[in-house]
């Protein structure tokens, strides 16, 4: 019997909620008065009219509560029930059920989620660095109210970008070119007292003016590059592969040698003369001719 009553009550509540969501219930007329807006984490007061005992329900984002109340008295919702931003439905049931809706909006910004892409970027690339900032309040509610987020990009002592961007639907973003010098690019997003910092590693671009020199040794030919830089003058990172190709009379020899301390070097075995060239990725270097062993 008790279970049947519970089912009937639940069906009634569901129907009431459905009708209210369709706008067929009027808060003011039903004898339930709710605040027009509540800030997340602040208490709310709900007024009722009439007299006698009633059952009070509140349904909100991530919350539901049921309690017994007296009609005509104010119902106080503690701050713990209004932490999540969104629409809240209150229902008061005595002989009949009456309902109303109010909205909880996000509190002031307390955190800034900041995503910057990429984590590494070659220097002097247009539109290569992008960032997205999303402000949240202390209860991790997304703040939809337009706010000004300040983006700052600095490399060394050079300011690359300083721009205030107004959030749209809770999001602010920027896109900018990378700097000309390899090193750390500091990216800061700030909003009032809240700020978030990210670091993008600016790395040298493809090698530029790859030049090699070679000399014959007792065991073959020792060939090495000059210090390898990109077109902006940044040293190409150690570990970058330089492929040396030696074309000899009887065939060819190749060595994939990593740059170490700015220079790549390799040893070509054999006593014959050779024409040696170098390449790194899609970049070609010069050619050198080394004569045969005397």
């Amino acid at each position: 019997m008790g279970r049947l009553r519970l089912i009937v009550t639940w069906m009634f509540l569901s129907l009431s909620l459905a009708l209210c969501l369709d706008g067929l219930c009027a808060a003011e007329d039903s004898g339930v008065r709710v605040p027009t807006s509540v800030i997340a984490g602040e208490p709310a007061t709900i007024s009722t009219m009439g007299s006698g005992r009633a059952t009070f329900y509140v349904l909100g984002p991530g919350i539901s509560r049921k309690s017994d109340v007296r009609l005509g008295e104010e119902i106080h919702l503690d701050s713990q029930y209004t932490r999540n931003a969104g629409a809240y439905q209150v229902i008061v049931c005595a002989d009949t059920c009456q309902s109303a809706t109010f909205y909880v909006t996000a509190d002031k910004a307390a955190a800034l989620t900041f995503l910057v892409h990429p984590s590494r970027v070659p220097v002097s690339q247009s539109n290569a660095v992008s960032g997205v900032a999303i402000p949240f309040d202390q209860f991790r509610n997304l703040i939809f109210t337009p706010l000004n987020v300040n983006f700052q990009l600095t490399t060394g002592n050079t300011l690359l970008l300083s721009r205030a961007v107004r959030t749209q639907d809770g999001v602010a973003w920027f896109r900018n070119a990378s700097g000309r010098s390899a090193g750390a690019l500091q990216v800061v997003a700030s909003l009032d007292e809240v700020s978030a910092r990210r670091v993008v590693q600016q790395v040298a671009s493809d090698p530029c003016n790859l030049r090699i020199e070679g000399e014959r040794t007792k065991t073959g030919i020792m060939v090495q590059t000059e210090p390898v830089h990109d077109c902006s003058g940044n040293p190409v990172p150690d570990g970058t592969i330089v492929t040396f190709t030696a074309v000899e009379q009887n065939g060819k020899s190749t060595v994939d040698a990593p740059i170490k301390q700015g220079i790549a070097r390799a040893q070509i075995s054999g006593p014959g003369g050779a024409v040696i060239s170098a390449a790194s990725g899609v970049v070609m270097g010069n050619e050198v001719r080394v004569g045969a062993q005397p």
Binding site: R120, A204, G239, I241, N250, K252, D256, P258, G281, V282
Partner: protein, 377 residues
Amino acid sequence: MKIILPIVLVVVTVALVFLGLTGVGRASGTVGIAVGSTLVTQKPSTPEHALTNLLVDAKRHNWDQAFADVSNVAPGDKQSFIQDWTGSNGSLRSFSNLESFEIRPMHITDDQAEMRVHLHWSTPVGPIEDVRDFHLTREGDIWKTVWPKNQIPSVPPQVIPVTALRWDLVGGSAEDEWGAKNIDAPHVRIVSMNAVDLAEGAVVMGEVVNEDTIPAFVNVNATLVDGNDNAIDDESSFDRIAHVLLPKQVTPYRIDFPNINLKNVKNVRMDVKATLVPASADPVIGVMNQKLDADVQGKSVLRGDLFNQSGQTVNIPHVIASFYDGDGKVVWVSDGYVERALLPLTLAPFTVDIPKSLVAKVQNFHVVVNQYSMGRE
């Protein structure tokens, strides 16, 4: 009925066990031996018998007998003779077993013989066939194999200065703020792709470059799609790629689709995956004296020598070669393992095959060396 079935099963099991035991006894003399297993104990009165004796003894690691089967050796050569069969320095040969062999006579006179042997090795990287020519001589009434003395490289004690260069990874923790410590995956790109039909099936091949400034672990997958956009097959490059790519390094890849004809394929979906890995820039291995040539059987091969320019022993070198036509298009990718370890500052020869049908197209080639070394990441 409930009792009959178990009884039948027990009887059948006992019968099968008996048959199995007696069957193995009969077959044991020929398991893994292609030719001449019954001649092992006989006096080698023919070149075939002599060579068979040697190979069977080597297969069984019966080194005293095997060493007695060869001529032109001194007692001090025994260790190098054994090493020639068993490998050393953690090479691929040291993890291999001679499974079987086939002997083909090339030229036989009254006291001299040339024999060609196809040696079938089982190895951790799959079966490997080795073709070797043996010279045999008649000594009295028996034949003996003239052992070709291979110069096993030995490296004198020395100090080789190496500027070490490696990349280590430090991962973030679960407590880190989202987006605060992300490191992007390395940026790699497929720079060429070609698909060809062969008798064995379709082959998709090409090259991948690491465009980033950090090492990448790379794998290439391909999906063949028919006219209705349904996937026909999905395969990966497996070991026909140099998985660890240093910055700006290029590797060939090859993906085989056995028993699939390209005429049924409308599209090929390529997918290259790259992840961050710790890596070392050493050892540096040069590829010397590369040239297109023919092997002893007349097959077209690319041969050359690997030159270890570092101070570390490379246990298992793996050669991957891409072949280009006159327009620079990759027309074939071939690979091969070197069975000998590559000692510091030494050379080791290698060969990789080229299909006969593609030889005429090949105008250029590029070789990369993959390596597996013990005690290193």
